[in-house]
Amino acid sequence: MAIVAQSSKFSTFGRPVLAWAVGLLFFFPIFWLFLTSFKTDADAVKPEYLLFFTPTLENYLNMTQNYDYWRFATNSVVTSVFATVFTLVVGIPAAYAMAFNPSRGTKDILMWMLSTKMLPAAAVLYPMTFLTKGLGLFDTHFLIILVLSLINLPIVVWMLFTYFKEIPKDIIEAGKMDGVNTWGEIKEILIPLAWGGIASTALLCFIFCWNEAYWTVRLTTTDAATLSKLIEGNRAPEGLFFGRLSAVSTAAIGPIVVLGWFCQKQLVQGLTFGAVK
């Protein structure tokens, strides 16, 4: 009985306290970033102004006037949306085929796809740079959409495969008996049944695309540059301007934090592959 009482005490008080502590620990850097974005570059580095300071919009005005924030933001939206759509258009049929018509090689293909994520991106930096420049694709939206799609495709196919596997095979076969063709199976049965899984996969894919920095920084200059590039650009050359950098970073992560906030449930479901009931 004593053990039961203890564990219930923990779940009533201990667990929420622990959750809040961990939550605050993770949230603090974002909060700090947000505060710093309203400080002058001079105030930003002074510890005594950590929480109490005279707020200013200078950094944000500077960002929109001198750095064309909206162009970077538009590029981020365009590339992330199109890359997510493209990834799903390729990923859904691929995962469907592997989940419901597996062959002997299916497991190997899945492993091979995952193994591409193990390759360090830096290893192919030079070939990618030369190739894209040679093909005239450097700094184009098309290239960024293609790269974002391809680097996220393995994880998207894996996630969708896992969701699709949960759909009983009988239902797909009943569809076959009822006269549905392959496209009909996907449209009438698979997508409606796996809608939650597809939505959380899409959301995660969108977030990964939005946050991607390695390739978007290196394969763009101006035309297709995303918010990652904007942050990057505010970093080194003139020293570390923390106020300005924080404003740019806040503006870059803002949309995704808001999106994440509203879609918490789907995200958790996506990250746990539907294990949470």
Partner: protein, 334 residues
């Protein structure tokens, strides 16, 4: 109306031969039951007829048309699955109407057919519910409704009652029987339950390890099992089968006697034994008899009730004209 002919069909999964080449004809309007222990290939055979499983060799004809390469939906067959396989995101109405919508039938005609099917299956009040809000029996009715609306050449049932509780199973069994009597459409029904097979079938196909052990009417199989396997599989409680001196007396390797074809006496009889467990069903009593020297346990079925205690001495006499004789290979001796 559909006549289904299997010519030398076989199935292998990789190196494993699940169904050696077999021939089978299912006559138009017949209620045929595939029965056998689990893993005997009965479901695989049904799925091959449905087109959900490719044939390794052989061909399948429906109404004299070779359908071996024809997709499942174009074969004109409807299937009812053990798991019901309803579309959980659609209402009962949409579920039943789905195959018709796929045929691009006019919505008014679909509605009419769905209403008719629902009326015959007592589902009218549930048309706007989702499958998740229905009981197991109602779900299975929806699955049957989805099969009926298509007006198929034949119905395929893959253990449709296995997920239902015992009482519901008996009720649904009757409904399917009545449906067959009414529609007279060919039906192929897969089950591992020999009671279902006996009560429903016009013709039973007993399978073991992919081989057809015997084809016949339920009473054929009961009265004249062609081998020891069929003798033991059909009938409940199981036939008592044993070898030894008693079998040699009638020039057989082994003999079988059904529990209900044995007389019981407390004073005299051909065989002597001790009562083990007596199961009282009210209408019948099953007595498990030990120490007969014939088999470990002999089961006897007598109608009505009898008061017996564990360990009581008992005498058994088989009805000699009901003894089944088998040779060394387990085949029936006439």
């Amino acid at each position: 109306m559909g006549r289904i002919v299997l010519n030398k069909v076989s199935k292998s999964f990789g190196e494993t031969l699940v169904i050696p080449p077999l021939d089978l004809t299912i006559e138009d309007g017949d209620f045929t039951v595939f029965v056998g222990p689990s893993g005997c290939g009965k479901s695989t055979l049904l799925r091959m007829i449905a087109g959900l499983e490719e044939l390794t060799s052989g061909d399948i004809e429906i109404n004299d048309k070779d359908v071996t390469q024809v997709s499942p939906s174009k074969r004109g067959l409807a299937m009812v699955f053990q798991s019901y396989a309803l579309y959980p995101h659609m209402t009962v109405r949409k579920n039943i109407g789905f195959p018709l919508r796929m045929q691009k039938m006019a919505p008014a005609e679909i509605d009419k057919r769905v209403e008719n099917a629902a009326a015959s299956l007592n589902l009218v009040d549930y048309l706007d519910r989702k499958p998740g809000q229905l009981s197991g029996g109602q779900r299975q009715r929806v699955a049957i409704g989805r099969a009926i609306v298509r007006d198929p050449l034949a119905f395929l049932f893959d253990e449709p009652l296995s997920n239902l509780d015992a009482a519901l199973r008996v009720g649904m069994r009757l409904e399917i029987n009545e449906m067959h009597a009414r529609m007279k459409t060919t039906m192929i029904y897969v089950t591992h339950d020999q009671v279902e097979a006996m009560t429903m079938a016009d013709k039973i196909v007993v399978l073991r390890a992919g081989l057809i052990e015997q084809i016949g009417s339920p009473l054929d199989l009961y009265h004249r099992p062609q081998n020891v396997f069929v003798a033991g599989f059909i009938g409940s409680p199981k036939m008592n089968i044993f070898s030894g001196p008693e079998a040699e007396k009638v020039n057989a390797h082994s003999i079988g006697i059904r529990p209900e074809h044995t007389e019981v006496s407390m004073t005299k009889g051909a065989w002597k034994g001790r009562v083990g467990v007596a199961e009282h069903l009210g209408s019948d009593t099953f007595i498990h008899v030990h120490d007969t020297g014939l088999a470990d346990i002999l089961t006897v079925r007598i109608s009505g009730d009898i008061s017996l205690k564990h360990g009581d001495k008992i005498f058994l006499s088989p009805q000699t004209d009901r003894i089944h004789k088998f040779d060394e290979e387990g085949l029936r001796i006439e």
